[in-house]
């Protein structure tokens, strides 16, 4: 699983801890993100940075900036594996 897919997985997991299955439903609506949560498989296609930004925006609709902080915390260990110019802007 590439880093972007791992970031998306961590974000969905963290959001699931707060709001439950709604977190997975919300992730499934993000274009470029394929989620098979039964197998715990997430695929990020197209502009991967942008897809992660859209996922963060999707959760932002629920709790506002708090959701963004939750996403940042979830991705904090993985984001450093990406060069600065490849990091999703919403997680910086």
């Amino acid at each position: 699983m590439d880093v972007y897919a791992q970031i998306a997985t961590k974000i969905i997991e963290q959001q699931q801890n707060i709001i439950g299955p709604v977190a997975i439903e919300q992730a499934k609506t993000v274009s470029g993100l394929k989620v098979d949560w039964d197998k715990h498989q997430v695929t990020v296609s197209g502009n991967q940075q942008s897809v992660i930004d859209k996922l963060v925006d999707q959760y932002k609709e629920l709790f506002g900036k708090i959701s963004v902080e939750v996403c940042k915390e979830a991705a904090s260990k993985l984001i450093s594996q990406l060069p600065a110019d490849k990091q999703p802007s919403s997680l910086k």
């Binding site: 707060i18 439950g20 709790f63 506002g64 900036k65 708090i66």
Partner: protein
């Protein structure tokens, strides 16, 4: 305004207005403590029961005991249910067992103190859900989170327990004498901390429900505080202003639960419409 269009909210508001009208109708003969006051005092917590049922449904939609938000809603619902249980038990003592004074402590206190603990647990999970840990990285907020409970605990101690004559022969009475005001101070502290530490970051569709829930906790505290103050000074009158305050609190908490339920429904509807629109967008 959207909340007012919710059928469940309309139903609950009609019940609220009905009970409010009833309460107003007997205030001029309150001191006589007639049938109307007795019936009102025995039934108004039906609003808490309605709120608890809606709250348990909302909690299950948001993940129930497996999630932070689900647990917060579950504990607030348990608190409401305990309030209704407390009223039923008190009613039984008066009309079933024909006691002139409700014993203290009694089974009713299991329910009422259980309610205090449930609201405290709900407040803790609510604070977690609104991400207070992110604000606690700042020293200013750390100080606020420490000062608020200390001030409220000291104030509660000063008003209710300073010079209080404890009955050391009855340890449960001592525990409840201290437990009610201090427990109330702790749950209101959680509500105030949750609000102050999240107000700049909290947004989105959950904002309204969370703010209504915090207002409900403030109202519950006002009702509990007034009740303790009046009973301490033997000025409590059944079906008077304090019972109205409790009734208003149940209505506000129920409204919060309806909001969480409708937020879930709106989100599901939006997700479903996005799923339906996507293939069309691809075709286009």
């Amino acid at each position: 305004m959207k909340l007012l269009k919710d059928k469940l909210q309309i139903f609950v508001t009609i019940i609220f207005v009905g009970f409010l009208g009833w309460w107003i109708s007997f205030q001029h003969v309150l001191s006589a403590q007639g049938k109307a006051t007795q019936w009102f005092g025995s039934t108004y917590a039906v609003m808490a029961l309605i709120g608890a049922i809606i709250g348990f449904i909302a909690s299950s939609k948001w993940g129930g005991y497996r999630t932070v938000l689900g647990k917060a809603l579950m504990f607030f619902s348990l608190g409401l249910l305990a309030q209704e249980a407390g009223q039923i038990i008190s009613t039984y003592y008066v009309y079933g067992a024909h006691l002139t004074t409700i014993p203290y402590p009694s089974w009713g206190d299991v329910a009422y103190f259980g309610s205090t603990l449930s609201y405290l647990s709900g407040g803790i999970f609510l604070a977690k859900a609104v991400g207070i840990k992110y604000s606690l990285k700042s020293n200013k907020y750390k100080v606020i989170a420490l000062i608020i409970p200390v001030v409220l605990l000291v104030a509660s101690y000063w008003v209710f327990l300073h010079n209080h004559q404890y009955d050391w022969h009855h340890p449960i009475t001592v525990f409840l004498d201290a437990g009610y005001p201090l427990g109330d101070a702790l749950y209101i502290s959680m509500a105030i901390i949750a609000y102050l530490l999240s107000r700049k970051m909290l947004g989105g569709i959950m904002r309204t429900g969370i703010l209504i829930l915090i207002v409900a906790l403030v109202a519950q505290y006002a009702a509990d505080w007034t009740f303790l103050y009046q009973t301490n000074r033997q000025t409590y009158i059944p079906a008077g202003y304090d019972d109205l305050l409790y009734f208003i609190t149940y209505f506000i908490t129920t409204t919060a639960m309806i909001k969480f339920r409708s937020s879930y429904k709106d989100l599901r509807a939006k997700t479903s419409s996005a799923d339906t629109l996507e293939p069309k967008a691809i075709e286009a």
